[in-house]
C-alpha cells in the first residue's frame, strides 16, 4: 500500500508540472503578456518614475527575461530540490533547499502567507459541504431507487433535475437578496465570515443565568420529543394537519417579519409553507419525516425558550461563524447534492436488479438487509469515484459563492489574481488547486480499496 501511495505521489509531479506549464503559457502568450509595463499600466506616472518602477519590477521579478527562462526560474524557486544562486546570480550549488512561491505583485506579500490565510477558509466551506451532501444524497437516492416509479421517485427526480439546473449564481443572489438584505428578511449577514464583535466573544454560546440554559434544554427536548412522537405515532392525516398548521403559522410570521409586505404575501407565504410542511408530514418515508419533524420541533423549542428567557445571551464565535456560513454552504451544496442523489439512485437501482440481490431475496434475506448489506455496499463505488470529481467542482463553486457572499477565500483570491495579472499568485493557486484535486483522486482510489475488497494496490 505505502509503495502505491508513494508512486502515486511521485506521478503527481509531472502532472503538476504540466498544469503550471499550461497556465504559464497562457499568461505568457497573451497580448501584453506579463511584463513590468502591464503591472504599472494606468497609474499615470511621469516617464522617469515609470522607467524607474519598470526597472525595479524587472530586477525584482526578472520580468524582462525571455518567458522560458522566467518559467524555469519560477520552477526552480518552487521545487524543494534545485539550484541555488549566490548574490551575483551564479550557480552556487544543487541540492535540497526551501521551496518559495514568490511574492505577489499586487499585495506585495509572500504568496505563502496569502495562501495560508485563504486556503483554510475555502477548505472549511468544502469540509462542511461534502459530508452534508453525501448524507442527504444517499438518503434521498436510496429511497428513490427502492420506490422506483412511485410518487417519491418521480417527485424527487423532478426536484433533483431542477435543483441541478439552477445556476449557483442565481441561488446565491436570490438568497442574499431575500434573506440577507435589509429590504426583505434580514435574517442572515450579507458578507464575510464573522461580525466584528464576534472576534471578542467566547467560543461557545453563553447565557446570563443558569435558569435560561435549563429552560433552553427543557424546551428544546420537549419540542423535539413532541414532534418525534407525532412523526412516529400519528396517522398520516393528523401529521399533515399538524405540520400544515405549523407551516401556516410560520408563513404568517414570515410575512409579518417583512417590512412593508404587500397583502398578497400574507396569502402566498402561509399557503406555500403550509402545503410544503403538510407534504413533509404526510410523507411515507419514515427516516426523512422523523429528521424533518424532529428538527422543526427542536427549532420551535429553541424559539420558545428564547422568547421566554431573559437577556444576557452572547452567541459566541462558533454560532456567529455558523450563522455566516449557512447561506454559502447551502448555495454550494444543493447542486452537487442533486447530482450525487441522482447518481446514488442509478447505482442502487442497478444493484437492486442484479442477480445476486435476487438470489439473496430468494434465500429469504429480509429486504432491508438486502438493501443495506448487499446492494448498498456495491453501490458505494460510483459514489466514491465521484468524490474525486466533486472536489474540483466544489473548488470552482467556491469561486462563485465566495464572490457573492464576499468571503475572503481562495476562490475570491483567484478571481482577483487573474484580474490583476498577478503572475506568482495565479501560478501558485493553480499549483495548489491542482494538488488538492490530485489528492482528491488519490483519496478516492484509496477509499475504493476500502469499500471493495477485490481492489488491492499491493
Amino acid at each position: 500500500m505505502s509503495t502505491y501511495i508513494l508512486r502515486r505521489l511521485l506521478l503527481m509531479i509531472p502532472t503538476l508540472f504540466g498544469i503550471t506549464l499550461v497556465v504559464f503559457v497562457v499568461m505568457a502568450a497573451s497580448p501584453g503578456g506579463i511584463s513590468a509595463q502591464t503591472l504599472i499600466e494606468g497609474q499615470g506616472l511621469e516617464p522617469e518614475a515609470r522607467k524607474a518602477l519598470e526597472d525595479y519590477y524587472n530586477r525584482l521579478y526578472g520580468l524582462d527575461d525571455p518567458a522560458p527562462l522566467q518559467y524555469l526560474r519560477w520552477l526552480n524557486n518552487v521545487s524543494p530540490l534545485g539550484f541555488e544562486f549566490d548574490a551575483e546570480g551564479q550557480v552556487a550549488g544543487f541540492g535540497l533547499k526551501g521551496s518559495d512561491l514568490g511574492t505577489s505583485f499586487r499585495y506585495g506579500r509572500p504568496v505563502t502567507d496569502l495562501l495560508a490565510e485563504r486556503i483554510p477558509i475555502t477548505l472549511l466551506l468544502n469540509a462542511l459541504t461534502v459530508p452534508l451532501i453525501y448524507v442527504i444524497a444517499i438518503a434521498v437516492g436510496v429511497r428513490a431507487a427502492t420506490q422506483r416509479g412511485k410518487a417519491f421517485d418521480v417527485g424527487s427526480s423532478v426536484t433533483l433535475l431542477t435543483l441541478w439546473s439552477i445556476p449557483s449564481m442565481l441561488a446565491g443572489v436570490l438568497m442574499i437578496g431575500f434573506f440577507a438584505s435589509d429590504q426583505h428578511w434580514h435574517w442572515f449577514p450579507t458578507a464575510g465570515l464573522n461580525r466584528r464583535e464576534a472576534l471578542d466573544m467566547p467560543f461557545l454560546p453563553h447565557w446570563g443565568s443558569l435558569a435560561d440554559v435549563l429552560l433552553l434544554f427543557v424546551c428544546a427536548a420537549v419540542g423535539t420529543a413532541v414532534f418525534l412522537a407525532a412523526a412516529l405515532r400519528l396517522p398520516a392525516r393528523y401529521r399533515a394537519l399538524l405540520m400544515g398548521g405549523v407551516g401556516l403559522a410560520a408563513g404568517v410570521a414570515m410575512a409579518r417579519a417583512h417590512a412593508g409586505a404587500p397583502d398578497g404575501l400574507y396569502l402566498f407565504l402561509p399557503l406555500l409553507l403550509g402545503v410544503l410542511a403538510a407534504a413533509v408530514g404526510h410523507m411515507q418515508y419514515v427516516g426523512m419525516r422523523v429528521v424533518a419533524m424532529g428538527s422543526i420541533g427542536l427549532l420551535l423549542g429553541i424559539g420558545l425558550a428564547v422568547s421566554l428567557g431573559g437577556g444576557g445571551f452572547v452567541p459566541g464565535f462558533l454560532l456567529d461563524r455558523l450563522w455566516h456560513l449557512a447561506l454559502p454552504v447551502v448555495c454550494l451544496a444543493y447542486g452537487s447534492f442533486a447530482f450525487l442523489a441522482k447518481l446514488t439512485r442509478t447505482a442502487v437501482l442497478e444493484n437492486l436488479l442484479a442477480d445476486y440481490a435476487r438470489t439473496a431475496r430468494a434465500k429469504g434475506v429480509p429486504e432491508s438487509q438486502v438493501l443495506w448489506r448487499h446492494v448498498f455496499r456495491n453501490s458505494l463505488l460510483p459514489l466514491i469515484t465521484v468524490f474525486a470529481s466533486l472536489l474540483p467542482g466544489l473548488l470552482a463553486g467556491s469561486v462563485i459563492v465566495e464572490q457573492i457572499f464576499s468571503i475572503d477565500g481562495m476562490g475570491k483570491l483567484a478571481v482577483e489574481a487573474v484580474k490583476t495579472r498577478d503572475r506568482e499568485l495565479v501560478l501558485s493557486i493553480t499549483l495548489i488547486s491542482g494538488l488538492l484535486t490530485l489528492l482528491g483522486y488519490l483519496i478516492a482510489d484509496l477509499l475504493y480499496a476500502v469499500a471493495d475488497p477485490r481492489v488491492s494496490y499491493d
Partner: protein, 391 residues
C-alpha cells in the same frame, strides 16, 4: 453500405429519436430551445426601438429593415434555409453544405448591400411621434432596443416591472435605464451561440484526441491520458478565468476558450468507446480492406460510438452556457453586449437588491440549462439498454 444496412441504421436512429421525443421532459426542453432559437433569430424584430413601419409625409418607411446588420441577415437566412431543408429528402451532409452556402452567400450579400447607419439615435422616433411628424407608426412588440437608454424620458435607471405608466417595461429596467426584456431577448443569441459553438469545438477536439487514444492505445493512450488529466486537474473555471483575463473579452475568443477547456470530458467518452469498438470485426475488416485511417476512425467507428457523445454534448451545451454566465457574472464577460450572467450580476451590484434583475435573467439561464439537461437525460435513457431491461 448496402440497402439493408442503411435501413437498419436508419431504423435504429429513428427509434432512438422517437423514444427521445416521446419523453415529456425532452419535449418540454426542445420546445423551450426552439422558442429561444426563434426569439434569437427574430430578436431585431421583436425588441427594437426602430418601428416596423411608419408613414411619414405620405411615404412608408421601415427603420427596422434599414438597421439590419449582416449578422442578422445571416441568422434569418439560416433559419429559413433550415425550414426549407427540413422537408427535403437529401443526404445530411448535402443539407449541411446547402445551409453553409446559403449562410455564406447571405453574409456576403449583407456585407455588400446593407449599410446600417453607424450612429443610431433611438430617441428620434419617440420624439418625432410626440411632435406628430408621423401619420401612423407600427412599433415592435417591445419598442425598446437593448442599448436604448431612454435618455429622452429623463428619470431612468433601475425601475421595477411596469413601474412607469407611459413607458411600459415588462421586466423593468437596468441601471442605465435600458429595457431588461429587450436585453434578455438579444442576449439569447449569445447564450445559444456560445452553447453550440463551444460544444462543437470541444466535441471535435475530444473526438479526434480521444479517438486516436482509444484506437492506438499503448503509448499514445498514456500520453493522451496525462494530457487529459492535466486539463482535468485544473479547475475548468479557473483555466477559463485565466484565459479570459489575459486574452481579452471577445465573444469568439470566449467560445473558443470554453471549447478548449471542455474537451477532456469528451475525449474520455470517445476513448472508452473506441477501445471497445476497435476490436470489432467490422473495424478489422475495414482495416484489412486498406481503407485510410481517417475513414476508419471517423466513418466506420464514430457512427457506432456517437450516442454517448451526443448525450455528453447535450449536457455540455448546458455547462457551456453556464460557463459564459459565470464569466459574465464575475465581470469577465463581454464589455458592450448584454448577457444573462452580466445582468444577473447587476442585481446585487447596486446598494439595493433588485429582484427583477435577478429573477428574469437568472430564470432564463436556469430554464435553458434545464432544457438541455432534460434532453440529455431522455437521450441517455433512450440509449441505455440496461435501463430498458429493468423497466
Amino acid at each position: 453500405m448496402t440497402d439493408v444496412a442503411r435501413m437498419r441504421q436508419r431504423s435504429y436512429s429513428a427509434r432512438i429519436a422517437r423514444e427521445v421525443l416521446g419523453a415529456w421532459g425532452a419535449r418540454i426542453g426542445l420546445a423551450w430551445i426552439l422558442l429561444l432559437a426563434g426569439v434569437a433569430v427574430f430578436a431585431p424584430f421583436l425588441a427594437s426601438s426602430h418601428p416596423w413601419l411608419l408613414s411619414r409625409e405620405g411615404s412608408i418607411q421601415s427603420p427596422v429593415l434599414a438597421h439590419l446588420t449582416a449578422g442578422d441577415v445571416m441568422l434569418l437566412t439560416a433559419f429559413l434555409a433550415m425550414l426549407i431543408l427540413w422537408r427535403l429528402h437529401l443526404a445530411l451532409y448535402r443539407k449541411g453544405l446547402i445551409l453553409l452556402a446559403a449562410v455564406l452567400l447571405a453574409g456576403l450579400a449583407g456585407g455588400a448591400w446593407l449599410k446600417p447607419p453607424q450612429i443610431v439615435i433611438y430617441e428620434q422616433y419617440r420624439e418625432a411621434e410626440r411632435a406628430g411628424v408621423y401619420d401612423w407608426v407600427l412599433h415592435a412588440p417591445i419598442p425598446y432596443s437593448p442599448k436604448d437608454y431612454l435618455r429622452d424620458v429623463g428619470q431612468t435607471g433601475l425601475q421595477g416591472p411596469l413601474a412607469h405608466a407611459q413607458h411600459r417595461h415588462w421586466m423593468g429596467t437596468e441601471e442605465n435605464g435600458a429595457d431588461v426584456l429587450s436585453r434578455m431577448i438579444h442576449a439569447s443569441r449569445i447564450a445559444l451561440g456560445i452553447g453550440f459553438v463551444a460544444t462543437g469545438i470541444a466535441m471535435v477536439l475530444g473526438v479526434i484526441i480521444g479517438g486516436l487514444m482509444g484506437y492506438f492505445s499503448g503509448i499514445v493512450d498514456i500520453i493522451g491520458m496525462r494530457l487529459v488529466e492535466i486539463f482535468e486537474a485544473i479547475p475548468q473555471l479557473f483555466l477559463l478565468l485565466t484565459f479570459v483575463a489575459f486574452f481579452g473579452r471577445s465573444l469568439y475568443i470566449m467560445m473558443v476558450i470554453i471549447g478548449l477547456t471542455a474537451w477532456p470530458g469528451y475525449a474520455r467518452y470517445v476513448r472508452a468507446e473506441y477501445l471497445k469498438l476497435r476490436r470489432q470485426d467490422y473495424v478489422q475488416a475495414a482495416v484489412a480492406a486498406g481503407i485510410p485511417l481517417t475513414s476508419v476512425l471517423f466513418r466506420h467507428i464514430l457512427p457506432n460510438g456517437v450516442a454517448p457523445i451526443l448525450v455528453a454534448a447535450s449536457f455540455g451545451v448546458a455547462s457551456a452556457i453556464l460557463a459564459e454566465a459565470v464569466l459574465s457574472f464575475l465581470g469577465l464577460g463581454l464589455v458592450d453586449d448584454p448577457s444573462w450572467g452580466q445582468m444577473l450580476s447587476q442585481a446585487v451590484k447596486s446598494s439595493t437588491f433588485n429582484w427583477w434583475m435577478a429573477l428574469f435573467p437568472g430564470g432564463a439561464i436556469f430554464l435553458t440549462v434545464l432544457a438541455y439537461n432534460l434532453i440529455g437525460e431522455s437521450m441517455r435513457d433512450a440509449i441505455d439498454p440496461y435501463l430498458k431491461k429493468s423497466r
